[in-house]
Amino acid sequence: MSDVDPALADLCTTADAIAAGRLTSVQAVEACLVRIEAWQPRTNAFLRLGREKALDQARAMDREIAAGRRRGPLHGVPMAHKDMYYRKGEISTGGSAIRRDWVAPVTATALQKLDAAGVVELGFLNMAEFAAGPTGHNVHYGPCRNPWDPTRVTGGSSSGSGAAVAARMIHGALGSDTGGSIRLPASACGVVGMKATYGRVSRAGAVARSWSLDHVGPLTRTVRDNARMLGVLAGPDPDDSTTSERPVPDYEALLAGGVAGLAIGLALPEALVPLDPQVGAAVQAAADMLGRLGARVVPARLPDFTALYRAAEVIVKCEAAAMHRPWMEADAPYANQVRSRAEAGYFIPATHYIDALRLRAHFTREFLDTAMAGVDAVLLPAIPFPIPTIAETDVEASGGPATLKMVASFTGLTRPFNTLGLPALSVPCGFDTNGAPIGLQLVGRPFDEALLYRVGHAYQGATDHHRRVPT
């Protein structure tokens, strides 16, 4: 790898080069630091950069490799994470002013697993305040900017994760997803994001937005990278009782299956949200490509999500209202839109909250019996329109009905799969006329992340959207 900028190599290539002694972890970290120096002023992706600590970690990783010890499949790889994963003894802001100086008392399970696999942590990344917001705005730390066009949003709430991975500042990042917060920035920034099945990845030690709908997951440059990272993150955790005991497959080993013989349901759901023709054409072209690769592509009929949307709002608002009550009663410094989105939760009867939770099984059953009947996965867009500008979506500054409607429609095609608990993978599938990325979304049956990766990997093997680098 001596003649190639190590920061431009993907996660798996970097990890394998370190393991084989062709690259040191220090070289990998230094290359990322050069990228960060160039791209941080343009993107505002990092909230905190731990340069010396990361270099110390990298030197330790290199000593271990020299001694014949490899911690795991991510040994020596530089990453950074959404600033909501607790690291014991370190500040963790959750993107908020309230926790600007708060020091975490524990380390998140996801970080513990990445530590055990050998990841080098470069720092923590920008995000929507308390993971509440789909665009990447943050009134306390400034908006995160899209590497493809700094006037445009990154998507949120894992805004820094999407921007930093896309700009090749890091090889992978943790995000979290309550209504699309991994898949939206993945789509808007042209990277890969996985929201796995509810219970597949531990949420312990991560700031909650809604305990019932939150999902922890990886953002990476390629599907293979994502499969490797999820393989490290997935599995049961005694600190999160919602995690599944189900064995974790070797996702990376299962990538090579191809799509021949698979049935893919294509949904271009105009009835749910208005779909921009550019986005529809890009997803249709992806479906055509999967067809040429041997998949049987058939129309998918999505159920009416109107009631599901409302039930999800009830769940999020009630849970957010409960956890934020002490700060809200004290009139703590929230952004207006973060505060206002939770306030209704104080007035929703407990019976309605419980009924919303009881409805989830019915909604999931209906989706499996309709959209997924006879197919292995459903293909649909992630974001239904071209990526808007930061100014167009600034609800704090303008907040007019059109702005609010656009922000709400951001999540129209991602939110349902948090309530349904189903795995959903976002993969780059093109660029709009503004030069901003377009992402597709693949939705699967419970715990069938391996199949989604298999489809996404086959697609990336036949396309080059994921290889383009913002300049």
Partner: protein
């Protein structure tokens, strides 16, 4: 619905907005519940369904 009964306090204008928002949400959930839920449905059925339908 009064400002005192639970949580933070709100002025009358905001209370009116919240009342409207809550009514929409509650009606949707109530309608969906009446159409789908039976006595024995419990929230944990969701996790059981994911496990049962796992691939």
């Amino acid at each position: 619905m009064t400002p005192e009964f639970d949580g933070p306090t709100f002025d009358d204008k905001r209370l009116a907005e919240l009342k409207e928002e809550v009514e929409i949400l509650c009606k949707a959930v109530l309608d969906a519940s009446r159409a789908r839920l039976a006595f024995d449905d419990e929230p944990a059925a969701f996790a059981s369904l994911l496990a049962r339908e796992a691939k």
